[in-house]
Amino acid sequence: MNDPSRRRILSRIRSSLKSVTPENPPSAPAPAPKRTPAARIKHLTQRMTAVHAEVHVVEKTHWTETFKALAAEKNWREIACGSGHPLIDELKMAWQTDANDLPVLTPCTAASAPFKARLFQVDAGITSTMGAVADTGALIVWPTPAEPRLLSLVPPVHVALLPAERIYNSLAEAMTEQKWKAGMPGNALLISGPSKTADIEFKLVYGVHGPRELMVLMLV
Amino acid sequence: MIYPPTTVYFFATCLIDAFFPQAGLAAMRLLEKAGVKVVFPRRQSCCGQPAYNAGYVQQARQAARHQLKLFTSPYPIVVPSGSCAAMMKIHYPRLFAGTVDETAARRFAGRVYEWSEFLVRILHIRLTDCGRPVAVTWHSSCHALREMGVTEDAKALIRQLENVTMKPLKNEEECCGFGGTFAVKQPALSAAMVRDKVDDIVGTGAGIVLAGDCGCLMNINGALAHQGASATGLHLAQFLWERTHVPRADL
C-alpha cells in the first residue's frame, strides 16, 4: 500500500513494540454450564420477558393460527415479511388459504427505496431467526437477501420465529456450532428485547428508535 | 519467617511518630502481649509514600533506602498502617526495580505485615473486653482494603470485644479524601470527600470511628472537630489496648 499515513502508523507501532516478545494467545476458557433443552427454554423466556419481550411458546403445527389470533388482538393492519424461508412460506400459505379478514401481508420483494418507505408504515415485521442464546437471553438474527436488515428494525413491532431446538447455551457455543468463523453475514445481530433507554433520570422507557415491541414465537 | 515468631520489628510510620505516638505504643504493647519481643529501630522515618505518589521517585527512593538499611535482621516487619505497609510490601519492589537495591527491596517487602493482619493470622491474639458497652463504626482505609486486604482482620479483632457494637457506615469503602498530598493539592475535592465521610459517621450514631491508618484519622478527626461533632476517631490499636487493659500511668 502506498498510503503514507498507513505506512507511518504501522512503522511507528512496530518500532514501539520491538522489545515485546509475542506470547501465545489466551487459552480457551472453561466451557459455560450446559442446561437441558427444557431449562434453556425456561431461562431464555425468563430473561427476555424480564426486558419486556413478549414470548409465546407455540406448537410448530399450528403457530400460524396463534399468530393470526395475536395479530387480530393487536389490530394490525399490515405486516411485512421476507421470503424463501420454510416458515415464511407456511405463513404465506396460511394467509392465502384463509378467507377471513386478515391484516395485509406484504412480502419484501420490491427493490430498495419503495420497500424501505413501506417498512416505516407497516404495523409489524416478521422474521425467522438463526436460533437464540439462553444465558444472555438473545435471539440470533442474520438478515439475508430474503429477509432484509430493516425488516427487524423499522416496523414498530418485530415478530421473531424461533425453533426451540436452536437455543444454544451461550454465544460461544452458538458461534462454534454454527461455524460463524467460516463465513459471517454482512450483518449479524443479537436481539434481546424491544429497544429501550434510561438516558433521562435512569427512567426506563421502551420503544426508542428500534421496535417498541419484540414478540417471540418459540416453536416447540 | 520462623514460626511462631519470637521477635518482630515495628515500623511506626511517620504520622504515628509525630501525631499519634500513643497509638504506636498501644500497637507495640499488644504485640508484646501476644507473645513477641518488639524491636523499634531508632532513626526510622518515613516509608517514602508521599514522594512516590507525587511522582518524585528519586526522593522516595532516598527515604525508602534509609529504611531498608535499618531493618537488617530477618524479623517480620509489622506496620500499624495499611498504606505504609502496602508501600513497603507492594511498592518497594516496583520502586527499586532495575536498581542495585532491587533484591534488598524484595527481601524487605517479603517480611512486611500490616499490624492487624499479623495479630490475627500469625499470632492468633485473644482479647478480653474490660470496657463498658459502646457503639463504634469502622472506616476502611483504601490501601488497607484494596492493596493489603486486611479489613476483615481488623474487624475480627473488634468483634472479639463483646461489649462493642459495630454500626456500619453507608459508604464504608469510600475514600475519606486524605490521599496524602491530595488533601493539600486538591483541597476542595478533599474537603468534599471528608465532609461526606463525617456525615456518614455522624449518621451511624456511633461515638467512635475506628481506622487502621493515621492519615485517615488525622483527616477525619480534623473534620469532626471542625463540625463540633461528638464522635471521635481512634486508631484501632489504641482502642483495643484501652478496651483490654486497665489504664496505666505511663500511657
Binding site: I9, L10, R12, A172, S192, V205, V208, H209 | A63
Partner: protein
Amino acid sequence: MYRAQTFDFKKNVQAALADRRLRRNLRAAMDILIDNRHKAFPDAAALERLRSRGHAIKQHALNRLPRLLEELEGRCRENGMQVHWAETAAEANDTVLSIVRAHAARFLVKGKSMVSEEIHLNAFLARHGIEAVETDLGEFIIQLCRETPSHIIVPAIHKNRQEVARILHQQIPDAPYTEDVEELTAIARHTLRRRFAEARVGISGVNMAVAETGTLVLVENEGNGRMCTSVPEVHIALMGIEKVIARLDDVPPLLRLLTGSATGQIITTYVNMITAPRRKGEKDGPREVHLILLDNRRSHILADPELRQILMCIRCGTCLNHCPVYTRIGGHAYGHVYPGPMGQVFTPLIEGVQETGELADASSLCGACEAVCPVKIPLPALLRRIRRERAQPHSAQGGGRLKNMAEAAVWKGWALANVFPVLNQAAVKAGAKTGRLPTVAGPLKQWTNVRTAPRFADRTLHAMLNATGDGDE
C-alpha cells in the same frame, strides 16, 4: 459547558462542587450504576476469571497490533469495506468530510462515538456546512443544548427531566412541554425517524473490531446505532486503532465485561456485527462501508510498556462510576473529552503531560477504579506515572516549570529529613511547641477550611521510647 480556552481545572472543580443539583444527580446516578454492575456479576470468583481473560485478550491484541491491524484491513477489504488510516484528528476529519462530500450529503446521522468527540468531528463538520445529527437520546439532548457529554455511557445524566422537557420544547418546533419521560422519548423518536429516513450518510463508533473475520461489533439499547449503520447508503465507522481484537472467540467474554460494567446488563438490546456492505441480492444495508482507523498518538503511547496499558481500555465507564472524585464533579469539570480515572491518564498522553497533567493530581489513589476495571488496567500506577513524568524537567513526556521546581525543592527537603531523622525529630519538637502544624498560609491553609489543624504530639514515639528504653534490640 464548552471546553475552556484556557483550561482552569481548579476553577471547574470548585464550580462543580458548588452545584448542589449536579452533585445530587451524579450521586444518585453513580449509585445506580454501581449497584447495577454489582448485580450483573453475582459470582465474584467468576468475575475475577473473566477480568483476567479480558486483560489477556486486550494485552495480546496490543502486543500483536501491527499484524492484527493488517489482518483486519485485509479482511474488511475482502468483504467489500473501504479502510482509511488517519494519523491525526485532522486527517480523520478530512476523510469523513471527503466521503460526505462525495455523496453530496448536507447532514448525517450519528451514533455514539467517543472517538468522534476526541477529534471534535461535529464542530469540524459544522464549519464545513454539514450537520451531524446525534441520535442517541442522551447525545441528542446534549446536542440540543450545545453541551458536550458528561459521561461516556450516560451523556445526559446530569440533566433532570424538567431540564430535558425545557430543552426539547424550546429547540424542537411544535414539541409540547412535557415532563413525562415516555412522552419526551416519543418526541425524540418522532423527530429523529425522519432524519434516519432521509440521511445519506450514517456515522458510528466501534466497540471492538475482529481481525479474524473483519467484523465491527457495536452494542446499543436504543436501536439508533442499527438505524445509522443500516438505513443510509453510506456507513462510516470511526475506530481507535487499539480497539482491534484477534478472534471472534474473544467477543463473548469482552461483550459480557463491557455490558456488565457499563450498565449492569447481561447483554444490551442489540449487538450489531457488521462484516460487509450490502451484498449482491440484498435489498438494504449501506452500499459503502468506510472504516477509519485513528492513531492520534496511540502509536506513540504504545512505546512505553507501562503507559501502553491504558490502551486496553474498552470504554465501559465503570472507573468513572466508582470514582469518588468523578461522583462529586461530573464529566465536564475535567474539561476534556475523556473524564474520570481513565481520562486522567489518557488525556495527558494525547494532549500533553505539561498542558493537562494536572488532571492526574485529582486523585487520592484510592484504587476503587482499579478494583473494578474489566480488563485490569492498573490505573493508580498509571496516575503516579503521569505525575512522575510531569515532575521530570527533561523526561520524554514532560517538561519543567517553575511550579515544578518549587515542589521539587519541597521533596528534596523532605527526603533529607527522612534520611537524617534528627532533622525530623527537631522539626516535630519545634512544631510541638506551637502545638499545631502551621496552617496560616500556603498550601496547608485550605486544610483548616473544613478541619482543625493536626496537633503535634508533645513527644514523638522516638522520644518516648528513648526515655523508657523499650524497643531496643
